[in-house]
């Protein structure tokens, strides 16, 4: 079932993606960050991946480029998922926004920016969402100490 959906995608994107593998039933595409809009555009318009599930990042502090940015998409037509992954360095943790393609990207890109400091080029509204205004740092980065506290309201003596 998933082969009939995934094979045309692999063929169509053969020159565009760096790697295409099948991992636990999900087609995983590794791409250059500059080709994000092109790849996701094709996934949405041509292959029916209409549901933006998720965007998050994975921090690999000892690796260069340091961050994986990971998107998941679902097709409500074919009932399969695809994972798009790209790598960005600490010096310039920037990828393109997907808000023009998917409304739901708006909130999840804000969360990813909160937690990992990934900036989404073209998304003007990257206000803190789970954190608060004035929070310093990005807590899901591996170098952010778990015990560090930044109380908005000072603790009582």
């Amino acid at each position: 079932m998933s082969d009939t959906v995934f094979t045309p995608i692999r063929e169509h994107l053969a020159g565009t993606v760096l790697e295409a593998t099948l991992e636990h039933g999900i087609l995983a595409l590794l791409i250059e960050s500059s080709r994000l809009a092109e790849v996701v555009g094709a996934l949405k318009e041509r292959f029916g991946f209409d549901l933006f599930l998720d965007v998050t990042a994975v921090d690999w502090p000892l690796r260069e480029p340091r961050f994986d940015v990971v998107w998941h998409f679902y097709s409500t037509r074919d009932f399969v998922r695809v994972r798009v992954k790209t790598r960005v360095p600490l010096a310039e943790p920037v990828v393109d926004t997907l808000v023009p393609l998917y409304g739901s990207a708006r909130y999840m890109e804000r969360e990813c920016h909160d937690m990992y400091g990934i900036a989404f080029r073209g998304n003007e509204d990257l206000r803190p969402i789970l954190l608060y205004e004035g929070f310093e740092g990005h807590p899901l980065r591996k170098d952010y100490p778990k015990q560090k506290e930044q109380p908005l309201v000072p603790y009582r003596k």
Partner: protein
């Protein structure tokens, strides 16, 4: 004299877009926003022109905390995501880890997880509908539904030892088997529930006040719902039968007979009705599963994750060491990444986990339906009355625990 506290949020707008409008703040300290959601709304008279929805007041660093606990030890945190149907979270998380470890659970575990997931879904829907009805003043209906929910909570406490956060899932199985007489009581509760939901149907379905508040309020189309990432009962209320239990069958759903109820136009009334029908379908599934439940072991026989019998731990050195290693080092999960999703009570509940090998996760990410729904809920609020925010918000069933994580 206290100094004013710094504002934790920055509203998207602070100026009126035109003359005669007023900007108000609703929540987070408001029962109808479940105490965790803040809505900044621009009003023209009673009409809502635009809204800016904020969440995060219940953020407690779930994902950060997971990175310093063993795969087993974080199950109680997973419970506290959607605390109305904690077992569904447990099973979705455990399945993600099992996929990475290449474990196939035993038949009894598979059926029992399915049964408990559907039972939890009933409790979740009962909570949602009861709260939404109470917010509109339907106290009788609230009490009918919450009575049944309390029977379910007590019944689950018989099984797991807790009413709300069960910590009952285990990687490769479940904590322990059913106590004696549990299935008999299950049948009694479901029968009583049918009577009580029937009464609620009688009280509100054709009630003029209820229809006025619900019909044609908070309407969302299928295309809009998909664009804004809505899944679960909200997406189904727009008229499409998209349900992971049917579309990508997991656990034992492929073997069950059930329907996927859908709405007509995606308004509050449809969301109410879809949930009520889903309760019926879930009860139908639970009854089938109680009949189908096979005998046999509950946990897989895999020393990487399943604890040895207590008797053996005390009498045999291998089991003692096995027990020690599982507690101290945690289950050994091979390197890799997996995204696994279950149909939660509110929509697609996905876990994206990354392992670098060993007993502690490198990353656990939860794709929670409530958070995504909060990203699109303004589409249901804008253009309606201020008072409509309460039932619309109630029909979305935002759960603070999984929204803010």
């Amino acid at each position: 004299m206290n100094t004013p506290l710094p504002n934790p949020i920055r509203p998207a707008f602070t100026e009126s877009s035109r003359e005669g409008t007023v900007i108000v703040n609703i929540g987070p300290s408001h029962p109808a926003t479940h105490g965790t959601i803040q809505i900044v709304a621009e009003l023209e008279g009673e009409r809502v022109l635009r809204t800016d929805v904020h969440c995060g007041y219940l953020h407690r660093g779930f994902e950060k905390e997971c990175e310093s606990h063993t795969w087993h030890n974080l199950i109680p945190y997973v419970d506290r995501l959607n605390y109305c149907s904690a077992l569904i979270n447990d099973f979705a998380y455990c399945e993600a880890v099992e996929k990475l470890m290449g474990i196939e659970i035993t038949p009894r575990c598979r059926y029992l997880r399915t049964l408990l997931a559907e039972y939890s879904r009933i409790a979740d829907h009962l909570t949602c509908i009861a709260a939404a009805l109470m917010e509109m003043g339907a106290m009788t209906a609230f009490l009918y539904l919450v009575t049944i929910r309390d029977y379910i909570y007590e019944h689950l406490a018989d099984l797991t030892g807790a009413r709300v956060t069960y910590s009952y899932g285990r990687i490769g199985g479940l904590a322990h088997d059913l106590p004696e007489g549990w299935l008999k009581r299950l049948g009694e509760i479901l029968d009583q529930m049918d009577t009580f939901t029937g009464r609620v149907h009688g009280l509100v379905d054709r009630n003029r006040i209820f229809i006025d508040r619900m019909r044609n309020v908070g309407v969302i189309s299928t295309a809009e719902a998909v664009n804004w990432g809505f899944t679960g009962p909200i997406l189904r209320s727009t008229g499409v039968p998209r349900d992971l239990r049917k579309d990508t069958p997991y656990l034992a759903y492929a073997e069950l007979d059930f329907e996927v109820p859908v709405g007509i136009k995606g308004d509050n009334y449809d969301r109410y009705y879809v949930r009520m029908r889903e309760i019926d379908e879930s009860a139908h599934m639970v009854r089938q599963l109680a009949e189908m439940l096979p005998a046999g072991p509950l946990c897989v026989d895999d020393r990487r994750c399943t604890f040895p019998d207590k008797e053996l731990v005390y009498t045999e050195i291998e089991s003692l060491i096995n027990h020690f290693k599982l507690v101290m080092d945690g289950p050994q999960v091979p390197p890799g990444e997996v995204y696994s999703a279950h149909e939660g009570a509110n929509g697609e509940l996905g876990f994206y986990i990354v392992s670098v090998g060993g007993g502690v996760p490198w990353k656990v990410h939860c794709r929670s339906p409530s958070f995504v729904h909060m990203g699109g809920v303004h589409r249901m609020l804008d253009g309606y009355q201020l008072a409509d925010i309460v039932p619309t918000f109630g029909s979305v069933n935002m759960i603070g625990g999984e929204c803010d994580r």
